[in-house]
């Protein structure tokens, strides 16, 4: 028999809660005090860990001896002041990310329409994604520069041991080592970024699918 939607609508409106499904008022009282486990809560926790990790590693690294040695070396090279300005800028940007994250997170409201709710959640996540990209980018640059400084230092020391005073690093070696370091760093960052996206892709798969469907409607 062919089932028509209008006919089914009438049956739909005749349904009530079955005895097996009925939730008693005592159970409802219990439920309203139960712990909620939503995608937003997960996103918030993970984002906090991500934001926190960047800040904690920054603070911790200041206590290591190698960090102090590095500072002495940078001072002797005369670039320490510039790096201090850069690190202030980085800190301001990170604080900006954290502020923007909390502002966007506070905007998430279940009473919004479906499209707006998904939009706000996606935007909150985007902030953390950009924060991770920013961190990867700055780490990449810092790592590349330190590697090149290390290489130049190593070369100079080796030459001095061979009795050559004030040795100059040939341009060829500079170019070659720069290319190798940049390629290696880029590969590492790309891999880390893809793993990160893969993990998040799984967590937000449903959200992105629904977001896409709503976007296609407009």
């Amino acid at each position: 028999m062919k089932m028509e939607l209008d006919g089914l609508k009438n049956i739909w409106n005749k349904q009530t809660t079955g005895d097996n499904e009925k939730i008693s008022t005592a159970e409802i009282y219990k439920m309203i005090h139960a712990k909620s486990s939503t995608t937003v809560k997960w996103i918030f926790m993970i984002s906090l860990i991500e934001l926190g990790l960047g800040v904690i590693t920054g603070i911790l690294s200041a206590f290591f001896d190698s960090h102090k040695e590095g500072i002495t070396h940078l001072k002797s090279m005369g670039i320490y002041e510039y790096l201090e300005i850069i690190s202030v800028i980085i800190t301001v940007v990170i604080l900006g990310f954290i502020g923007a994250f909390f502002y966007q997170y506070k905007k998430i409201s279940v009473a919004e329409n479906i499209r707006e709710l998904i939009n706000t959640i996606v935007n909150t996540r985007k902030i953390v994604r950009y924060y991770i990209l920013f961190n990867l980018g700055t780490s990449g640059i810092i790592f590349t520069v330190s590697m090149l400084i290390g290489i130049s230092q190593g070369y100079t020391t080796a030459m001095q041991l061979d009795g050559i005073e004030n040795p100059h690093i040939p341009l060829k070696i500079w170019i070659l080592s720069s290319i190798i370091v940049i390629i290696t760093v880029s590969i590492i960052i790309t891999i880390v970024w893809y793993i990160y996206k893969l993990i998040y892709g799984r967590l937000l798969k449903k959200l992105h699918k629904n977001h896409q469907e709503l976007l296609e409607l407009e």
Partner: protein, 162 residues
């Protein structure tokens, strides 16, 4: 939050729990997930309740919060095998006729094949929600509601009558 508000909320939810159950039947496929989603919807409704001003009917406000929870916020607490178990659907029909019972179960089964957004559209259509209200609940234009609803109704017809 104060006790009176809690009592008022539980009373309102209790008399409207049929709405939440219908949404749970659409978005979950076994009784464990059904109860899980019911609980999450209850928590979200309770959290949002202090801001409910009563401009709209409690039931209309519930549609939005419950659908938002099912579509966007709900995460299954554990991984379970996805089934389309019709025996786990426990509605009751007024002036029950065996044929109606079977048809309603088939309707639920077909709806479960739709996407999350299509489910919301069909649900609101079956609940006789005006186009204007469907549009504000989903956050899309009325024109787009008409287009998408027609497409979804056709898809559903095909699923019901393969």
């Amino acid at each position: 939050m104060d006790k009176d508000l809690e009592i008022k909320f539980v009373k309102e939810l209790d008399s409207n729990q049929n709405i939440v159950h219908k949404i749970c039947r659409i978005y979950t496929s076994n009784s464990h997930d059904h109860k899980d989603l019911f609980q999450e919807v209850t928590i979200q409704l309770w959290k949002a309740y202090p801001k409910f001003r009563g401009d709209s009917k409690f039931s209309t406000w519930m549609y939005r919060i419950a659908l938002n929870t099912a579509i966007t916020l709900y995460r299954k607490s554990t991984r379970r095998i996805k089934t389309n178990d019709l025996d786990a659907i426990h509605f009751k029909l007024k002036d029950e006729e065996p044929e109606d019972d079977e048809h309603l179960k088939q309707l639920y089964k077909a709806i479960r094949w739709l996407t999350d957004i299509e489910k919301a559209l069909i649900f609101l259509y079956l609940e006789d929600t005006p186009y204007k209200d469907i549009a504000t609940t989903l956050g899309i234009s009325e024109g787009n509601v008409r287009v998408k609803l027609n497409r979804t109704k056709n898809k559903l017809k095909q699923l019901l009558n393969p």
